[in-house]
């Protein structure tokens, strides 16, 4: 079963009893903004810090993939047919000094290079999707909650609509349509173009299906914040709407936003890998871990390393991010601390 994509855990009001920084609010030297307090809590949480550094490790692996592959001296696309047994399509070597994780059957591409490069699609897709859904969700939620009236009704209906869409089924159907719309016809497309289209369509699909949860959350928050004195005060003072939205409301929404983002990131990584595994997301030659897992599943008993390397990669990354997300939520929202 899919993990929940956007944060739908119930959240309470923003941390009680603090005055938003924009109001200046008698900044006594020792009082800190809620965000700072939360971050401090995070830093004190050992498990969270370990997870954070694991995440940083993967990000670095992704960024420096070419360098790492270069150190090993291989590329993720070069096929080494001479290392393949022509009679069985199995590699004749295991892990060697030239191929730290061995090579893949049939095509003989280096598995270490494909692994380090494989961190990239997962992180890029998940990162973009998280960014997009956060931005869209926040904006829609703010507008719907603040303006009310028919704006709110329309936007709420939209939110409900998108929340009702079955994510996986659409994730399957969408790329088919998008790909044929963008590249239909006789001209044909190069594999690079296809890869790019699949990339973009995957991010698009994930974003379209993901923003609604956050939007609903933010809308709820804004609805309750709207009645608070500092907002009515700002309105009375004639502060332009834009300032109210972005300087008054937004800072109070940092907690739910950060929590939602940190919980959705691992969800999107899993979504990308999962969809790619089904054959619906990214495809060869993109070295995504989902691609490798899909091809390696048949070799689980005869060539386990092939399967386990990407499995461990994605498991550790997602595990770290999930725990980090939990820790972030605990830090930002004291009511859920155990």
């Amino acid at each position: 079963m899919e993990p929940v994509i956007t944060g739908t855990e119930t959240l309470t009001e923003p941390t009680v009893g603090t005055i938003p920084p924009s109001q200046g609010g008698a900044a006594v030297a020792t009082s800190k903004s809620p965000t700072r307090i939360a971050l401090q809590r995070l830093r004190d949480d050992k498990v969270a810090m370990i997870c954070f550094w694991i995440f940083v490790f993967f990000v670095l692996v992704a960024i420096f993939a070419p360098v790492l592959a270069g150190i090993e001296g291989q590329s993720p696309t070069e096929r080494n047919f001479d290392l393949i047994d022509r009679r069985t399509t199995f590699p004749i070597i295991g892990t060697t000094a030239e191929h730290w994780f061995g090579v893949e059957p049939r095509l003989g591409r280096d598995l270490f290079a494909r692994w380090v490069y494989g961190a990239r699609p997962s992180l890029i897709v998940a990162g973009s999707a998280t960014l997009l859904t956060t931005i869209i969700g926040v904006v829609v939620g703010l507008v719907a909650g603040y303006f009310g009236g028919w704006v709110d009704r329309v936007l709420s209906w939209l939110i409900d609509f998108f929340l009702s869409l079955p994510y996986l089924i659409f994730a399957i159907a969408f790329p088919a349509v998008i790909i044929s719309m963008v590249y239909g016809g006789n001209e044909g497309t190069t594999p690079e173009q296809v890869a790019k289209v699949r990339f973009i369509s995957l991010i698009t699909v994930l974003s379209i299906l993901g923003w609604a949860g956050l939007a609903r959350l933010i809308r709820g928050q804004v609805l309750s914040l709207r009645e608070r004195e500092f907002i009515s005060a700002a309105r009375v003072l004639g502060v332009p709407t834009r300032r109210v939205l972005f300087r008054e409301l937004l800072p109070n929404l940092i907690a739910p936003i950060v929590i939602s983002a940190s919980l959705s990131l691992p969800g999107y990584i899993v979504a990308e890998a999962g969809l790619t595994f089904l054959g619906v997301g990214l495809m060869d030659p993109t070295p995504s871990w989902g691609v490798t897992i899909a091809s390696a599943q048949n070799y689980y008993d005869s060539y386990p390393l092939y399967l386990w390397v990407p499995v461990l990669g994605i498991t550790i990354l997602v595990l770290a991010l999930s725990l980090l997300g939990d820790a972030v939520r605990d830090a930002f929202d004291p009511k859920t601390r155990r």
Binding site: M1, E2, P3, V4, W157, D160, F161, L163, S164, L165, P166, Y167, L168, I169, F170, I172, A173, A176, V177, S180, M181, G184, G185, P266, I269, V270, A273, G274, F277, L278, G279, V280, I293, Q297, Y300, D301, V311, I314, T315, V318, L319, S322, L323, D326, R338
Partner: protein, 329 residues
């Protein structure tokens, strides 16, 4: 109350109708050639025309949508190679590639998905409750902490990875569990059960994580309540205390997540179906995607949306029954 229900139903219907129209437009406006695909390699213009006509592709888009909606409500006919095929309501279209009405295809697939989801739901709620109770009673001990850490890990790991690895290795090492396969319950109930045992088990363990945590938390909370202390003081056995009082409190939050989970899972079972080769809704849709069988794809989308909307509706309504504090705005 009535107004709320009516409004929710109206909203649900509007979602479904909009989805139909939107996906219809998307699928049929996409520059592909469903008639050409069906016609095959040695396609004569005459046959192409005939196929396009029988697929109603020569009609304006609004008529096509109208025809589709009409088919849903009343049923319609398709012509194929000189034969008219009756497609009775609800008619979700006709798959030329497979030579079958989509409704029949999906109708065969739905029981599979339902069996998987509801069976595993029972599994993971049971596992969650048992594990949570177990942990709560031994709160603070190593076992408890181990269990919590374990659920945290399992619940955070990508589901399809766990399912895949488990599906590969468990049959290898624990041979008593039969291979996963689908047999309709009407054919052979025992085979139906044994064929689903493996996926239920795996889903049960993997998805029980949050249930374990919830039931443990609420069990801990309720076990420290006064009335429980009173019960204990009165001499009621520990077991009765736990099961009668503790669990009841645990049930409410579980009921809530359960409803949402099942709704979600009904459409998300595709990984299970794909990994274990069970021909449910998700797998049929996936195959339709691979073979570009538009009618089946659209039918799958429609059913998915309907199911999800209905379940959400149900959950919302049940929630109002369960928790009167919810304001029906």
């Amino acid at each position: 109350m009535i107004m709320y229900i009516l409004r929710r139903i109206a909203s649900a219907i509007s979602v479904i109708v909009v989805t139909i129209i939107a996906s219809f437009c998307l699928f049929y406006l996409a520059p592909t050639d469903p008639a050409g695909v069906v016609c095959g390699p040695r396609c004569t213009p005459a046959r192409y025309e005939e196929i396009a006509r029988s697929m109603h592709l020569d009609e304006p888009i609004l008529t096509q949508i109208g025809g589709y909606l009409q088919g849903l409500v009343v049923g319609r006919t398709y012509t194929s190679g000189g034969i008219t095929i009756e497609c009775s309501a609800p008619c979700l279209g006709y798959s030329y590639q497979l030579g079958q009405p989509v409704t029949k295809l999906l109708g065969n697939a739905l029981p599979v998905t339902i069996s998987i989801v509801f069976g595993s739901a029972i599994a993971y709620v049971l596992v969650g409750l048992m594990a949570g109770t177990f942990a709560a009673r031994r709160r603070g001990t190593l076992l408890d902490r181990g269990l919590v850490a374990g659920t945290l890990t399992i619940g955070s790991v990508p589901y399809f990875v766990v399912a895949l690895v488990a599906s590969l290795y468990i049959p290898l090492y624990i041979r008593i569990i039969p291979d996963a396969q689908w047999t309709p319950i009407t054919d052979n109930p025992i085979k139906w059960f044994s064929g689903l045992l493996l996926p239920w088990m795996i889903l049960g363990i993997v998805n029980s994580a949050s249930y374990t945590r919830y039931s443990r938390a609420s069990m801990i909370e309720s076990l420290s309540e006064d009335y429980v202390r009173t019960a204990r003081a009165k001499g009621i056995s520990e077991r009765r205390v736990v099961y009668k009082h503790g669990m009841r409190a645990a049930l409410t939050p579980i009921a809530t997540i359960f409803g949402l989970d099942v709704a979600f899972a009904l459409t998300g079972a595709i990984f299970t179906e794909s990994i274990f080769g069970l021909p449910g809704l998700g797998l049929v849709t996936l195959r339709a995607f691979n073979q570009y069988d538009l009618p089946v794809l659209m039918g799958g989308v429609l059913i998915g949306v309907v199911v999800l909307v209905l379940m959400n509706l149900l959950v919302d309504l049940l929630y109002t029954v369960l928790d009167p504090r919810v304001r029906l705005v």
